[in-house]
Symmetry: C2
Subunit: 304 residues, 2 copies
């Protein structure tokens, strides 16, 4: 049994704000990532390889706020975070505040596999990336006229934006189950437009934005990071399953539609369990998402 | 009912390696912090004020690896992490990779109370600290002949040390319950000697090294950070209580003596619940710790 789900961020995504061309482009990005990752699972590859590949593709696609499509921070630079976890040995890797890394998810995996650490940040993480030969790109690679315009419009103010629309949480992520029953999850983000102060969101935080455990589930979140951190969202779903005996569906519903809503935690997540069940709940207006379930059925969706 | 517990790190602390003078000095540091924080609780102060004060005192005491006593990183600098959380509204603040901040716990609290963020890092966090007028110190303040010697001995190698002895996890922390039934937790660390790559441990990670929730418990951890992150230790104890109905004692025992031991996660933690129960379990040889329980009984201990 194999299955996979991916997301490209959640937030105030209204059909009325979207053009057919934009919608097609977003969906194409999701399809490309989904198909590339699913092909790995079909060939007997691991869920770890699949989620890395899905996030890699989403990072390369300029329309999502991760990798190439990352937003501008307050210095007019791109500062990215990512994490990855596998559910068999509970190994994990995470990185925050790195610039010029083409694919932060690849760096997160290298941290997991080639260091004794879980979480590296900033210049130190960049130094490690260079030593390992992780692919780098000049600032120009991350330049995008649309993102630049977004930033120019607010850069002199004190405000920051979660992404280009008023309330859009730009993140990408993937969760997968492979043939041998292993779960994995990965998340990546370009942060917030005009971000200051080296803010770290939930994306690189194991337990908050990303978690995987074969006994329960694999989770990747997208939303108002601060509230996801305080709620330890990803691990909360795992604990509700493990300690309270809830199904993935029940656990996701409690966390996304009740607990997060009560504290104003807008956003969503994708989740998968060892039975190949997929959940993609969100309490915002939309979430870019796609999945191929254990029957091989594919969905690509944006709105409710 | 009021109660408080503090720690000054765990690890290979052997009575045979300790002199009576050293032991007295460590205990004096613990007593000073404990008494200052307890005085706040006695006067009807909040658990949040109490844990901040306990960690503030431990950061000022040169013998613990936090604040003034922080170890040297690979650049011969001091790079510190801290976090704080209160259990009523589940507000939290965290900071990583900051230098020259006299009391990182004070910065973590300012992040919690004066920003929309939970977690700030590096230069950005420093910039925020300066804007807020958080107390700074020159490098000389953090200089310590003993720590410098530790660093000189290993700085040209590739190794790093968790603290000055072979396996000592230098962290300080506090958990408290105040009169009005509120729980709070705080943790602070100077990291690992000869630390490279901007490594982030569990201390600034809400859910891993620090967690507080009036419904369950307040926790501050000290140990092999990577394994504490992967195990989401602090929130795990909270979930075992909330979802499985375990007592604080049972939850702490499972996490510290079973789950962490199985993955080689050496260290310990301090924990408190709304009934004023205190737990201070550790699976290493020792843990600098102290508490004043709800009956006003005070303990200061190092070994098992």
């Amino acid at each position: 049994m194999i299955a996979i789900a991916i997301h490209g961020g959640a937030g105030t995504l209204r059909k009325s704000d979207m053009t057919p061309a934009l919608e097609r482009d977003y969906k194409l990005g999701l399809e490309t990532a989904l198909d590339a990752a699913y092909a790995i699972l079909k060939k007997g590859g691991t869920s770890l390889d699949a989620v890395e590949r899905a996030v890699f593709e989403l990072e390369n696609y300029p329309m999502f706020n991760a990798g190439k499509g990352s937003v501008f921070n307050s210095q007019g630079k791109h500062e990215m975070d990512a994490s990855i976890m596998e559910g068999t040995q509970l190994r994990a890797g995470a990185v925050s505040g790195v610039s010029n890394i083409k694919n932060p998810v690849v760096l997160a995996r290298a941290i997991m596999e080639k260091t004794e650490h879980v979480f590296l940040s900033g210049d130190g993480a960049l130094k490690f990336a260079k030593q390992e030969g992780i692919a780098m790109e000049e600032d120009a690679y991350f330049y995008n006229e649309f993102r630049h315009q977004q930033w120019l419009e607010i850069k002199d103010g004190d405000s920051f934006q979660l992404d280009h629309s008023e309330k859009k949480f730009g993140t990408v992520g993937a969760v997968a189950l492979c043939e041998n029953g292993q779960l994995a999850a990965a998340t990546s983000t370009g942060g917030m437009t005009n971000k200051k102060y080296g803010r770290v969101g939930d994306s690189p935080m194991i337990g908050a934005g990303t978690y995987a455990n074969n006994r329960t589930c694999a989770i990747s979140c997208t939303g108002h990071g601060e509230l996801f951190i305080r709620s330890v969202v990803a691990y909360d779903i795992s604990c509700l399953m493990e300690y309270k005996g809830l199904t993935l569906h029940e656990a996701c519903n409690i966390v996304v539609y009740d607990k997060l809503v009560k504290i104003g935690g807008e956003g969503g997540l994708i989740a998968i369990d060892q039975g190949g069940n997929i959940e993609m709940p969100f309490n915002s207006e939309g979430m870019f998402r796609g999945s191929i379930n254990s029957k091989g059925e594919r969905t690509i969706m944006i709105y409710k």
